[in-house]
Point group: C2
Chain length 493, copies 2
Amino acid sequence: MTIQVYNVLTRQKEEFKPLNPELVTMYVCGPTVYDVPHIGHAKTYVSFDVMVRYLRFSGYRVRYVQNITDVGHILDTGEDRILKGARRERIEPMEVVERYTRAYFAAMDALDVTRPDISPRASAHIPEQIEMVKQLVAAGYAYEIDGSVYFSVEKFPGYGKLSGRHVEELEEGARAGTPFRVAVRDEKRHPADFALWKKADPEHILRWPSPWGWGYPGWHLECSVMATKYLGETFDIHGGGVDNIFPHNECEIAQAEAATGRPFANYWLLTGSLTLDGVKMSKSLGNVLNIEAALQKYSPQAIRYFILSSHYSNPIDFSDAAIEAAAKGLERVLVPVRSVRDRLRVAEQTAAVESDEGAAFCATLDRQRAALKEALDDNFNAPATLGVLNQLTTEVNTLLNSGQPIGQTTLTAIDQLYRDYGGTVLGIIPDEFKPESDYALVDGLVQLLIEMRKDARQAKDFKRSDQIRDQLAALGVVLEDGRGGTTYRLTKG
Amino acid sequence: MTIQVYNVLTRQKEEFKPLNPELVTMYVCGPTVYDVPHIGHAKTYVSFDVMVRYLRFSGYRVRYVQNITDVGHILDTGEDRILKGARRERIEPMEVVERYTRAYFAAMDALDVTRPDISPRASAHIPEQIEMVKQLVAAGYAYEIDGSVYFSVEKFPGYGKLSGRHVEELEEGARAGTPFRVAVRDEKRHPADFALWKKADPEHILRWPSPWGWGYPGWHLECSVMATKYLGETFDIHGGGVDNIFPHNECEIAQAEAATGRPFANYWLLTGSLTLDGVKMSKSLGNVLNIEAALQKYSPQAIRYFILSSHYSNPIDFSDAAIEAAAKGLERVLVPVRSVRDRLRVAEQTAAVESDEGAAFCATLDRQRAALKEALDDNFNAPATLGVLNQLTTEVNTLLNSGQPIGQTTLTAIDQLYRDYGGTVLGIIPDEFKPESDYALVDGLVQLLIEMRKDARQAKDFKRSDQIRDQLAALGVVLEDGRGGTTYRLTKG
């Protein structure tokens, strides 16, 4: 197992060596559950899903923690996201959390994204967050002013090491009003200091008692607290979207390392962002594509194929043309997979003989299996992996079209290679092909047989018409002849 | 809306009057997520599901809160249930919580149980629980001894009002070793006093800091805290299994009413328990039937029908004979429903004329609709409701077998009545009938057509054989003739 990863923290590709050689500990920043998930979430979490799948496929155990932000994530307008959702829908804040946590997991399940092993919620870790703030105050990294507690960035020399920003630069930035968007509160000692705990007025529903009075935790705090709680003070991989590298990830490191005195995450892997028709998605612009809406037009596998056609660390642009191209690319891979599985079913019954061409193909499969591993070992390079799958597909098509008999062993080996890399790792090839709407197809087939029975009866071929009726009944389809024509019912429904 | 409920608190049937005439506030004790859910959970939560469904069907808005116990539920052996699960599976306690919370909701979703609006977790409300303990100590209802805090039952005159047990009796019980199972700790002032907060050793993973040192909340506390947090100090309905009436529900009332000085829940509705072949389910006896296993043998609707065939407040015994009887009872109801829906499909196309018998049936439907409402208004009497549905079914069967034409209006009215009470309220009639395994059925139908095409070709009727091939292709089923025979692939799959 020699996987190379690009570590944003060191800005270089490194061999991936987990602290425990058998268990990979991995934390990825999860969503703020105040609205339905959009296609940008799909990009982020499908990318990390493939990493988790590949690590497990490579023999590691993985403990995958991904948080749910249900408190403290404040918009640029100063509004709390959850409370904004609650006002919009006239329900309780925790009903907002419930509704959108469910919507998030439903979307991820539909996209076949592996569930995290632990999905801790920020609101469920208030005491732990208060403890870390107390530690930081006691160690001199944080100070209280009027019921709020701030982290003093000047006290932590490593501040900026992930994003490459410097405290001096941030100070100037804040003064000049550049897009760093550091909220300037007069009470802070330095404009780049950030809140660990915020004082809350009585009308703020999401608030808790603390040594500094009633308030709520700063958004960055939850990740430092929950990552170290479930994975240890130092763990292997920290993931997230590159948009959150500053201030969020930077603050996470500062808080955790100042509190524990140890390195936080060894490898930082960040995903590029997703634009829609070349523009950043934004509610105010009205250009947000929800996952549910996308799934009404495209299959989960096509959406995954589209996302994986660009490297996880790169940005990607979603457009109808791009996703349709992805769907076509996927279909090209699926055609021989279906054909191989169909032939396998026949081969199992007929014990087809292997031709020399068939037997020789196993060398091709070995070569391509090695190439697939190589692509993924190289910083989880999914587009390169898709490239190899496409080459493989060309070679499989040539074999299938050769007219030579292909034996069960070769067919099984082809199927297995697609299942391993296309299925288990990338999640773009289904375990089983099912028609999109079985019900419509069943109805179409039954209607066809009803017509054929009608033809037989009109031709006075009653033996034939009775046979059709009996064979349908054996399949659980009972025909009923009435005045309005023949209807049917499914007895196993 | 005049629903009568049996209120365990007052031991009588009362007219149900919610505090807010439009919004019903309802709390039901949820599961401890340390193992997969069993058929006893199905009994409890299907019962409350029907209440929530019927209240909504009757025009109420309902805020339904059901907690998840992920900390503090201690077994008789003194073990924490979550930690026991973690040891058994050699994973982190929060992975146990994650795994079995998911298993619980997956089982409930499969049983078509409506999700609660808020599913608060005990571990997510530690600060709120500490606050209530502080209030109770300050008001003199609780006392601290060596890092643990106990509720003094003698200080709360209402202790015992739900379960009908008296403090004196409890004291004698504890002394005599009766099955009240009051944990006697020497440090308690009275043997019936119960823990609000328990001191925890450092090796106890699930622990938090508090004014009394590191510890964790007593099991009963979470429900008092989360119910009042999300529903208000006084709310309408508190539900749960009757097995938990003492000490759990009794302690909930004591804690909440002592802390707030107001009544806790106005109506207490408790479900009877479930036995398996006449015996209480028990892991140590090895007689536990998991919901997932039950669903492999029986449909969700059959399991619901079985549960609803006994009144929610009564005990019920699960056996193969009983569930098979329920499945037969359900099938008897489903037969005319399928038939009515099939006829409706034909009627929509043919504009069938209504006969006098058909038109007259609407009076029957009105009468039965009133009877269904009456049954449910009477303390959510599901078995009586099933009785009415069965009478209705007899009458519908008579009409359907009469040979008289039935018009679209009457067919629609019959279908709607079944949909309302059998579907929306009881959840035993599906919105749409689908074959159990569409894939197997599709395969069977296609194989049948392949055989018919083969027969046609052998009879040199190539026009017929080509027609079958083309009609299948139009449905998205492409036939491929090979050496081993004819295979097919689904192009829309």
